[in-house]
């Protein structure tokens, strides 16, 4: 379980003026929940994720994962990056085994576990390829395998499918659902796509910008497993209604933003 309370962060903007990235966020992520976080750019969703990962400091508030306060990166959490962040000189096998190697897992064991995960993400046979030889979708499969290899309790995903084309993105969504349904763990998934947020999430956290705050948390009462019939799910009434509702809210936020153009965007 992840508990976030009173989380605040103010950055200094490029012009020296303070920019409030997070203005007091309270959020509880349940064990084995798939939580998606949606919001306009500048709402601080990636900042919040990096704080959970222990990669980013905050000014006030508290984050605990499994009851332990976050003070830095830890083996209970692993992250999947939007730009994949693969080591370009290392093979697929070595990339997937990277986290295990840092932890001092022996070569035989880490190779076995890496091979296992490479097969799970559908890349068997590509073990000795380098990232430059793979498509974007395949590279992110490596990123997911690397994150799962260290057997985390929490998977933090920062717009993981934002850099791949639409068709690949849909395939990756289905594959991620299938992997997660077979082997549940807590997932916090950042996205700017309403459809993706609804398709994947048990709940969708809608954040608003300037300052970054939670605007609404929407339950997604769609049946699981979802990976077997994504098409049917997307035609269901609930899916359409929730997506439409999220878009209404997001559009309002964009209009508010247009009304206050002097405010500066945060990432």
């Amino acid at each position: 379980m992840i508990e976030i309370s009173g989380l605040r962060k103010t950055f200094t903007g490029q012009d020296g003026a303070p920019v409030q990235a997070l203005g007091g966020v309270d959020l509880t992520v349940r064990d084995d929940e798939f939580l998606t976080v949606l919001g306009p750019s500048g709402c601080g969703k990636t900042t919040m994720l990096k704080m959970i990962a222990g990669l980013q400091t905050w000014d006030a508030g508290e984050i605990t994962v499994g009851g332990r306060p976050v003070r830095g990166p830890g083996p209970d959490r692993s992250m999947v990056f939007q730009n994949f962040a693969l080591l370009p000189w290392a093979t697929v096998l070595d990339n997937v085994a990277f986290g295990l190697r840092l932890k001092g897992v022996g070569k035989a064991e880490r190779t076995e576990r890496a091979r296992d995960l490479i097969a799970k993400v559908g890349l068997a046979g590509f073990e000795s390829k380098r990232p430059g030889e793979l498509s974007g979708g395949m590279q992110q499969r490596v990123g997911i395998a690397r994150a799962l290899a260290v057997e985390p309790q929490v998977l933090l995903m920062d717009e993981p499918f934002g850099a791949v084309d639409e068709q690949t993105r849909r395939l990756l969504q289905e594959e991620l659902l299938a992997i997660w349904e077979a082997n549940r763990l807590t997932v916090v998934f950042i996205t700017h796509s309403m459809e993706e947020a609804v398709l994947l999430g048990d709940r969708v956290v809608l954040m608003s910008a300037r300052p970054g705050q939670i605007a609404e948390i929407v339950d997604v009462p769609l049946d699981r497993p979802r990976s077997s019939d994504v098409g049917g799910l997307e035609r269901s009434r609930e899916y359409v209604e929730i997506t439409a509702h999220l878009w209404d809210r997001l559009r309002d936020m964009h209009e508010e933003h247009r009304a206050a153009p002097s405010e500066q965007a945060v990432r």
Binding site: L55, P73, M79, A85, L87, A90, L102, S135, V150
Partner: protein, 270 residues
Amino acid sequence: MSALAPPRARTAPRFEPRARRLPLGLVSLAAGAVLWEVVGRAAGVPFFPPLSEVVATLAAMTANGEILGNLLVSLGNLALGFAVSLAAGLVVGTAMGRYRRVKAALGVYVYALLTAPALVFAPIFFSVLGPGQSSIVAVVFMYSAFIMIVTTADAVEQVPAHLVEMARSYGANEWQLVTRVILPAASPTILAGVRLGMGRAVTGMINGEMFIAVTGLGRIVTQAGKSFDGAAVLAILLVVIAVALASVALVQFVDRRLTGWVPDTAKESR
């Protein structure tokens, strides 16, 4: 290069067949040789003999063992001096590239010594270290270390932040971060600096041998120069050029082994 960019083409299109490169180099060398021969004969001055005379002198010096013995002395000086420079380049360069305070503290000295003419330190080395091998090693160091420090520092600074962040997220400590992520990621640029450093080390070697401790190839050049033996001077020059080309080829060989992962498209632009 942004990691957001789509994956690069597996093989870069080559508009020029690989086979044409080597003959072009040979043609250029042959033209240079002919030019040397013609100018040397036409000039008829003792300090610029034609190529044929130089080659004959070189053959004679090789036959009587003068070249080989001194070449080995010089290569020993070069190897030792370059090894010390390389170690300093990697350690100091990485520290400067990674830690802002180290860069603030050392940067001004490194850039000063990078541009200072290294031979002005020769009298100091001569006085402190004497006329032995240590003085030559010191001169080689002054010639080659700073360019490697500067390029290594730049290379380390340019390592993509997202790779460092990724490694930190998997709990990498500072040593793991440097050895497993930063140095491999920086290696293409570092090796470009090592290549420059190697060339300058050869210059440092011959200058050190000529002006401080008179040994090795530098000694023959100095003696030949004093006796106005132009052919011998140029013969040694050919040997020095061969040493320089061979050592740079060695660096390139290592470079290819270490940075085979860099896509060809990116390589062509550097």
